[in-house]
């Protein structure tokens, strides 16, 4: 008997016992159900099974429960919800609630993530903080196959208590552990490494809220902590040569206090506010990285992030046909970590410093909607965002910085609503972002190689930008049983700035059509089609002289879905869905005044296709029990060349290193798998 089958027997036996013992007793109030079954995937699903705990072919046990009972005399709810108990991504939640008075819940949830890649490697020490890279290199493909992945285990507890007179207290606590491994690099050389993951996130939130008629006030505390069991990974070649010491994220924690509320001054005018202050710190010992740190380097960072936020707003209807929304928001994210020398030259003068970054945003927004005849309305709005940003004053700049950014956004929307047949909207957005002059890296032009534009780039997130977006959406119900929805979106970003390089423009378009038809009281059909087109044009630096490189990157996606639901008879329900998602990515490169070198391997198009067919039939074997059969067929294909190299002899998996390592990474380019499952569903 396989491990999975053994596990299944235990689970099934327990579920059966639960049904027998407690099902009939609980036969009152809201409906509950328990389902037990077994299913089988015909083949491995490395891509589509990343998260669902069913990556490998074989049998899986299916156990779900949704038990909800209520004691009407006291208004007390008893809930137990379990999903995928037979799978790795299982979750279960128990809840007890005396409604309007007191309640608590406890929830467990596991999120597995299995890497879709198969890694063949000679790396030693995977999962530990000491890694040895083989030297000499293994012959690619002759190492050990390893599969990486992580598992998150979350436990969440919540408590609620009404303190009377509109006063409520809520507290929630989550403990989340994350364990596993992740593909990494050795940093000092382009060799394969694996990051060991063993960390815990904790979050506690406590709220005291008051509500009385038109007045609401909430104050609370939100505290978090991150603890990493490891702080450094030591790597070297198996010969002991080339030791590299890789840092890991260090423990950090935060405390936040907040207060927000709202008050209805009149039935048509409401004011709101928010204030919060948080402080995050990171002060774990930094270590000396195998003795490679300077004795002058700090032993602790004394990291501190202070965030202050305040907002006031008003919503009002000063006239029957006019409503307005206005607010002012201030957010200051201040990295108050002291700037210290990290790297020192032979005279003890610091040459590299730590790099705190701070941002202050001041945002004002005004939006008005005016009701027009025949249920049309016109919305107009403007939003202004002024941002102050840190420009490092010590150390080396690697990219241009700006001290200020300003962005103004205008919105206009015409809407038609409240119609039985046609509703919709046509929206336009225009925004304009610019800012202060650039502070360029100090390296400057390199006359010796004829490069006058060294580091002269407009980084995409601080570049001047004009954005125009249109969105049209129509809901049309030509008949009571027939409905269509049309969506068209078009957006264009145009980037500009004084520097030579950077993103030039980007476009995004979306066309979507949805339709649904109620054939009769028993059958319904729905279908949809969606096309996405995105494109980005970049000018990037090419080595030497004034040659520039132009990149045109695009993605076109065509996706559709078709679904049917129906009742064949009073006892038999059936239905199914077909969905296909296909995307084509293109990477076009050219250089100014020349052609790409003949030795340059082109970047072929990449096409990803996912076809998913799901069918089900559910038959009522008795009044409160069904038998359900599920059939799923998945076909995934890709020609992604990310882990390939292209010698003249033809494409082959790329191998890390030349004289060392030899790790290869591969993904199954075509993955077809079929699932057949049968469940017994019992309601009570």
């Amino acid at each position: 008997m396989s491990q999975k089958t053994k596990r299944a027997c235990k689970v099934t036996a327990l579920a059966a016992a639960l049904l027998t013992a407690y099902g009939p007793v609980l036969a009152a109030g809201p409906e509950s159900e328990v389902s037990i079954g077994i299913g089988n995937w015909s083949d491995d699903r490395p891509q589509t099974g990343i998260y669902d705990g069913m990556r490998d072919s074989g049998p899986y046990f299916l156990l779900d429960a949704d038990i909800l009972k209520r004691d009407d005399a006291t208004g007390t709810w008893y809930g137990l919800k379990a999903r995928n108990l037979g799978l790795d991504d299982r979750e279960i939640k128990a809840e007890w609630l005396r409604q309007g008075n007191i309640g608590l819940s406890l929830e467990y949830s596991r999120i597995p993530r299995d890497s879709p890649w198969t890694i063949n490697t000679g790396l030693q020490g995977i999962g530990t903080t000491t890694l040895l890279v083989p030297t000499p290199s293994i012959t690619p493909g002759t190492g050990t196959n390893v599969e990486l992945g992580t598992v998150r285990d979350q436990i969440t507890a919540k408590f609620f208590k009404s303190l009377g007179a509109g006063l409520n207290f809520n507290v929630s606590f989550r403990n989340e552990t994350k364990e596993g491994t992740r593909a990494w690099g050795r940093g000092g050389a382009a060799e394969f490494a694996v990051e060991p993951i063993d960390s815990t996130i904790r979050q506690l939130e406590a709220l005291l809220s008051y509500s009385h008629e038109g007045f609401q006030l909430t104050g609370g505390y939100y505290g978090t902590s991150y603890e990493n069991a490891n702080s450094m990974v030591t790597t070297s070649l198996t010969s002991g040569a080339s030791p590299f010491f890789l840092s890991l994220p260090l423990d950090n924690k935060s405390h936040e206090f907040f207060l927000n509320g709202g008050y209805n001054f009149t039935p048509t005018t409401r004011g709101t506010f928010k204030v919060s202050y948080s402080q995050a710190t990171q002060d774990e010992a930094l270590g000396n990285f195998g003795g490679t740190a300077s004795p002058l380097a700090p032993t602790h960072l004394d990291g501190r992030l202070d965030t202050t936020m305040g907002e006031i707003g008003i919503t009002s209807r000063p006239m029957p046909k006019l409503s307005i929304v206005a607010n002012l928001r201030y957010r200051d994210f201040a990295d108050k970590t002291p700037v210290q020398g990290i790297v020192f030259n032979t005279t003890g003068t610091p040459t590299v410093y730590n790099t705190p970054f701070s941002y202050t945003n001041r945002i004002g927004k005004l939006e008005g909607t005016y009701l027009l005849p025949q249920a049309y309305s016109l919305l107009g709005g403007v939003e202004y965002n002024a941002q102050d940003r840190t420009v490092p004053s010590v150390g080396t700049l690697w990219v241009p910085f700006r001290a200020n950014l300003d962005e103004t956004t205008y919105r206009l929307q015409l809407r038609k609503s409240m119609s039985e047949t046609v509703n919709g909207s046509l929206a336009y957005l225009h925004s304009d972002r610019d800012g202060s002059s650039y502070v360029l890296p100090s390296a400057g032009p390199i006359p010796s190689v004829g490069e006058p534009n060294q580091d002269r780039i407009n980084p995409m997130h601080i570049s001047d930008r004009v954005r125009d977006k249109w969105r049209a959406m129509v809901d049309w119900s030509p008949a009571e049983k027939l409905a269509f929805q049309f969506v068209i979106e078009d957006g264009k970003d145009t980037y500009d700035g004084p520097n030579t390089y950077g993103l030039q423009d980007g476009t995004a378009r979306l066309y979507a059509l949805d339709a649904s038809y109620q054939v009769n009281s028993a059958w319904q059909i729905h279908a949809w089609y969606s096309r996405n087109e995105t494109e980005a044009n970049e000018i990037t630096q090419r080595d030497l002289t004034t040659i520039t490189k132009s990149n045109k990157l695009s993605e076109i996606g065509d996706s559709f879905g078709l679904g049917v639901r129906g009742k064949v008879s009073d006892k038999l329900k059936t239905g199914g869905d077909v969905e296909q998602f296909r995307s084509v990515n293109k990477y076009s490169q050219s250089i100014s005044g020349a052609v790409l070198p003949a030795t340059q391997v082109p970047t072929p198009d990449i096409t990803n296709t996912l076809l998913r067919i799901r069918l089900y039939a559910q038959y009522a074997v008795q009044k409160n029990a069904d038998l359900r059969i599920n059939l799923i067929h998945e076909r995934w294909s890709t020609d992604d060349w990310s882990w390939m190299m292209f010698p003249a002899s033809g494409a082959t998996p790329w191998a890390y290193g030349t004289t060392t390592d030899g790790t290869t990474v591969s993904a199954n380019a075509k993955q077809d798998s079929t699932f057949v499952g049968v469940r017994y569903i019992y309601r009570f």
Binding site: A189, A280, E420
Partner: protein, 319 residues
């Protein structure tokens, strides 16, 4: 499969404990009082038995909670006093002036006022009136089903499909090869977005980074060497709804990295390299920006580094 992903008995033990607990609670059920025969909901039930049943079975139907419609007049609380006139006249769509928040022809803010009369007190909804949804005529009933045992938008597994009704682009993105576990019901739209609030991008926290830190707190730092965009907004490099590039990247290295970096000095020529897979095994950094993890083959700690190694290149996220 991972060793760490082996099943544990914890959930099953929890299930057993909870079942016993449920049994204890169920023994009290015999004390349920019979519903009042003269209540307004009994009048409505005569024609709307399915709606009545779902109401009674819901949290709205709990009479011991002084806040609920059941304890404050039942159906008329949401459907108006005219519901009784509607019944007197024999029913029919709109007859008697009955208020129907599920109707297409009722104004969104009028529908929402009904719900907010009780639900504005929820801290997540304090700022509803200033939210993007409220400003675009989205009503509570656009997303929520009241008369059902299973409100799809309140279940992580089905919630995204409710959101896809309007957000078509995300319907495709969540099916791309690099994505969050949204289809599996492990991450829902509401884990990141408070659609009832007015934070920028409707985030549950006051910024994108604070929202992401809920699950990715190792990115918060502060690090010795911070990568500036990481401290500002994760969506500068990542598209959280799904992409065709590993790790939810918006674009493939080196193209993505070259949108900010154009430098020949210090690091040879590799920030300006062509994109393209290599022709063979190589250690040349000018040929390794595309294959595998791209630029991250070497700049492996791209979110930030805590290394204090006394190296001039210490700030480049390689250690």
């Amino acid at each position: 499969m991972l060793e760490t992903s082996r099943p544990s008995l914890l959930p099953l033990l929890t299930l057993l404990v909870c079942a016993v607990w449920l049994l204890a609670g169920a023994q009290q059920l015999a004390a349920q009082p019979a519903p009042g025969k003269e209540s307004p909901e009994e009048i409505c039930k005569a024609c709307h038995v399915e709606k009545y049943d779902s109401f009674v079975a819901s949290r709205h139907g709990v009479k011991t909670d002084s806040r609920t419609p059941a304890s404050r007049g039942a159906c008329v609380v949401c459907h108006g006093d005219s519901a009784l006139e509607h019944a007197k006249k024999g029913g029919g769509r709109g007859v008697g002036g009955i208020v129907n928040p599920g109707s297409k022809t009722m104004a969104a803010d009028a529908k929402n006022r009904i719900c907010l009369a009780c639900h504005q007190g929820d801290p997540k909804r304090t700022h509803w009136q200033a939210s993007v949804h409220a400003g675009r005529d989205v009503s509570c009933t656009s997303c929520h089903e009241v008369h059902t045992a299973h409100d799809k938008v309140r279940d992580k597994l089905t919630q995204p499909y409710v959101c896809f009704t309007c957000h078509k682009e995300q319907r495709v993105q969540v099916n791309k090869p690099s994505r969050h576990p949204i289809l599996e019901g492990k991450v829902s739209c509401a884990d990141c977005h408070n659609v009832h609030g007015n934070n920028p991008k409707q985030m549950v926290k006051s910024s994108v980074v604070e929202t992401c830190y809920q699950c990715h707190m190792e990115k918060r730092g502060p690090f010795v060497h911070n990568h500036q965009p990481v401290t500002e907004d994760c969506t500068i490099c990542h598209q959280p709804h799904g992409t065709t590039i590993a790790n939810l990247l918006k674009s493939r290295p080196p193209f993505l990295c070259q949108d900010c970096h154009a430098s020949l000095a210090g690091g040879g020529q590799h920030p300006s390299q062509y994109a393209g897979p290599p022709t063979g095994r190589t250690t040349s950094s000018s040929a390794l920006g595309t294959v595998g993890r791209g630029c991250l083959n070497c700049h492996t700690n791209i979110h930030g580094s805590n290394s204090t190694q006394n190296s001039a290149t210490a700030g480049r996220f390689r250690r």
